[in-house]
């Protein structure tokens, strides 16, 4: 292969990763701000409304406040892993963003196995949480870490299986091709309603959102694995959580809600840069809708107990996913879609 193509690829890679990393922090800020405002509204409060117009910079200020705070490490903690954990969690979230299809031509790394990569990388965050819980030398952290391990292990499987149906239908593991398939055949939502339901519940559990947030159950374990963390180390966990919420919503709409596609037929002649902008617009619209729904859920629901959670995972979601996959596969074979 010639040097030009190589250089081009390298440059493209550097550019995209830089853009992604630059994108993560503002995204987290936006999601946090949404959480602040929506929860406040549903609690009959105004929420932050002092900093910036309509208080829209509150979360940013929180971010800088976290930067300014003291960074404390318990003297019994294992320094190496203690410092490693937040970085791992954050990088897991950031790396999984590489394959998010924002728009036609706006995918950082357009693997042909993007979906597999995504679930593989996102699963890394559990390792970070586990390490954090162990390294903190604190019983609350330990319990929280173990909870996260159990929870994620039990939810990876239904989560992945619920997607396999869609993959089988589309016959691809590439996000872009999956979305193209949806443009042709209509949104996956219509083909895989059960898969969508399983995916949504499982994804909430995967990213420790209420009602499945027993990893940092503040009324039981003070803050779970993050109890002993302070300053920017805690900030990394914090950002990673909200980043994961954004990513999950993004992946969900890519898989089931037609990704960057507009609700009406996507104008094919709209290509190039304009198409990219148009797709990005629709992508963010859909994603933030689901972020808002997740936030509203948090404002409404109480926490599920950990044994109920795993019971539901193994006894309900997994069989459902299996059946769903079976039916889908059968349908594909019979009607050779």
């Amino acid at each position: 292969m010639d040097l030009g193509a190589l250089l081009l690829g390298v440059g493209r890679f550097l550019l995209s990763t830089t853009l992604i990393l630059l994108l993560t922090v503002p995204t987290a800020f936006v999601v946090i701000q949404m959480e602040l405002k929506i929860i406040a509204g549903s609690q009959l409060r105004y929420g932050p409304n002092r900093i910036g117009p309509w208080g829209m910079f509150q979360s940013t200020i929180h971010g800088f406040k976290v930067l300014a705070k003291e960074d404390h490490i318990p003297d019994q903690a294992d320094r190496a892993t203690f410092t490693l954990a937040p970085w791992m969690v954050y990088m897991a979230a950031a790396m999984s963003m590489l394959v998010i299809p924002f728009a036609p031509g706006a995918i950082a790394a357009d693997f042909n196995i993007g979906i597999v990569y995504f679930f593989a990388v996102l699963g890394l965050s559990v390792v970070g949480l586990l390490i954090a819980g162990w390294a903190s030398y604190n019983k609350y952290s330990l319990l929280g870490g173990l909870r996260s391990a159990a929870q994620m292990v039990s939810y990876e499987i239904p989560l992945t299986l619920s997607v396999v149906g869609a993959v089988v239908l589309a016959g691809t593991l590439n996000f872009r091709e999956l979305i193209e398939w949806q443009r042709a055949h209509g949104w996956m939502l219509l083909w895989q309603p059960v898969g969508l339901g399983i995916f949504y519940i499982a994804s909430l559990a995967e990213i420790n959102r209420t009602p499945f947030d027993m990893v940092e159950a503040d009324s039981e374990l003070v803050a779970g694995p993050f109890t002993e963390y302070s300053g920017m180390r805690f900030g990394f966990f914090f950002f990673a959580e909200y980043l994961a919420l954004f990513i999950m919503s993004g992946v969900m709409i890519s898989l089931f809600f037609g990704g960057w596609l507009a609700p009406w037929p996507f104008p094919a002649e709209l290509g190039g840069f304009l198409g990219t902008v148009y797709g990005v617009f629709w992508f963010f619209i859909k994603t933030y809708i689901f972020v808002a729904v997740a936030v509203l859920l948090r404002a409404t629901l109480v926490r599920v107990r950990v044994d109920q959670l795993m019971g539901a995972a193994w006894k309900v979601l997994l069989p459902l996913a299996m059946i769903n996959l079976l039916v889908t596969a059968a349908a594909v074979v019979v009607f050779n879609l």
Binding site: I39, S42, Q43, L44, R45, P74, D75, Q76, Y137, N138, K139, Y140, L143, R147, T210, P211, D213, M214, A217, D218, S219, E220, L221, V222, R298, A299, T300, L301, V302, R303, V304, R305, V306, D307, Q308
Partner: protein, 424 residues
């Protein structure tokens, strides 16, 4: 076991184990960076041999067990309480509530105060039921002095007391949800509580520590402002209650977390001395307002509400039902309220004849009673307060074993203890 058992310190065990492994692997013993402090020393292991069998049982750890110390600084210990929880994994083996972090010696303060100034001291005891805290001493002292409060005073007392019950119960709804991770209902509860508290400050002049009751009457008569505010509150209280109810009562997750949790049978409840809503939620129809009528309750019509199940959900539903009942009572009181004075003639410094008196009221947390002994001096010779949440808290160690850590706080919140009253 003999009594001079060596309590194994987890830290020591771990260090010994590490040293053994290292020596086995031919490594040099590890240099610990940590100072004297270590996270495990916060579990509350006493640095002395156990004194009672109970201590020995609690602080002896079997394989795979550990002690988790919840509180006194913990997000959801309703004030400052400490729970030493012995867990195996997530399962609670044993619980030992450690009390006294909020002890202010209120009984002793009251014994050094004159009868009229006792009211100011009992206020901050059970700070969610200050009116009830003042009601019981008022009853007891009036028995002691042989005076009677005027009719209107009694009606105003009953009115403010029921208002107090409303906001106390509605706060319980919020805290129960909060301890299960629901962050919204507590704010709805506080909206309701704030309106009631404004009401009470309109009649008493204070928002939290009212100091409203007087021996032989009440401090102020109810004025127009109070009644107008009462009207507006009455107009939308049901709406506010329903709002928080709609969020949690039928919620499947909430039901899954409460139904069958911390089941307290009626017999056990009576044996423990649990009273009030917690007792009635176990199916025992005991209400001081009916069993030992005081104030004007004989003139009001209401029946004792009970729930059979005796679990957290029953206790929660019991509270809601009692809120509605209190609102019903408030309507009756306002209708029947007579005119007249609100304060009997009482000398400034009272020296009752030597004797003893007992006054009991139905506080939001149960049977709250006061026992006062007079030796003829200007201040009570002995002043004893029976606080219901102290007793209902004794049910926690009995109920919890077998449940998960996640449920300890939830069940405790369903008993609605107030540490200020527990520790006095």
């Amino acid at each position: 076991m003999t009594s001079d058992v060596k309590i194994p310190d987890p830290l020591e065990l771990e260090r010994a184990e590490e040293a053994r492994l290292r020596s086995a692997a031919g490594l040099a013993p590890a240099a610990r960076t940590g100072g004297e402090y270590s996270g495990f020393e916060s579990v509350g292991l006493p640095d002395r041999p156990p004194e009672t069998e109970r201590e020995q049982e609690l602080y002896t750890l079997d394989e795979g067990e550990m002690l988790v110390n919840m509180g006194p600084q913990h997000p959801s210990t309703h004030g400052v309480m400490r729970l030493v929880v012995k867990v195996r994994g997530e399962v609670v083996i044993d619980i030992d509530p450690v009390l006294g972090y909020l002890h202010r010696g209120i009984e002793k303060l009251c014994e050094n105060a004159t009868y009229t100034t006792v009211m100011t001291y009992v206020d901050p005891m059970d700070y969610l039921a200050s009116m009830h805290n003042e009601h019981a001493p008022a009853i007891a002292f009036e028995k002691l002095f042989g005076i009677k409060a005027p009719k209107r005073a009694e009606y105003i007392r009953a009115l403010v007391v029921e208002l107090n019950r409303v906001f106390s119960h509605s706060l319980m709804m919020g805290f129960l949800a909060l301890d299960m991770g629901g962050i919204t209902p507590i704010l709805y509860s506080f909206i309701n509580r704030d309106e009631v508290v404004d009401l009470l400050s309109a009649i008493s002049g204070q928002r939290m520590l009212f100091n409203f009751f007087r021996v032989g009457g009440v401090n102020f008569d109810a004025n127009d402002e109070f009644f107008s505010r009462l009207g507006t509150w009455r107009a939308n209280v049901v709406k506010t209650i329903d709002m928080s109810e709609r969020v949690i009562t039928d919620n499947e997750v909430f039901r899954a977390r409460t139904i069958g949790m911390g089941v307290l049978s009626g017999k056990d409840a009576i044996a423990l001395g649990v009273s009030g809503p917690n007792l009635r939620a176990s199916g025992v129809p005991f209400d001081v307002r009916k069993a030992h009528p005081y104030s004007i309750y004989p003139e009001l019509e209401f029946e004792v509400i009970t729930h059979a199940a005796g679990d957290s959900n029953a206790r929660y539903l019991q509270r809601i039902a009692e809120i509605k009942q209190s609102i019903h009572l408030i309507d009756q009181i306002v209708d029947k309220m007579p005119h007249g004075p609100v304060q009997a003639q009482v000398p400034g410094i009272i020296r009752p004849k030597p004797g003893r008196a007992y006054g009991a009221v139905e506080s939001p947390r149960g049977l709250y009673s006061v026992y006062a002994v007079s030796d003829g001096g200007p201040n009570p010779y002995r002043f004893r307060m029976r606080d219901p949440s102290f007793i209902s808290l004794q049910a926690i160690p009995k109920l919890m074993p077998g449940h998960l850590i996640a449920d300890t706080m939830a069940v405790m919140a369903s008993f609605d203890p107030v540490m200020g009253g527990v520790d006095k």
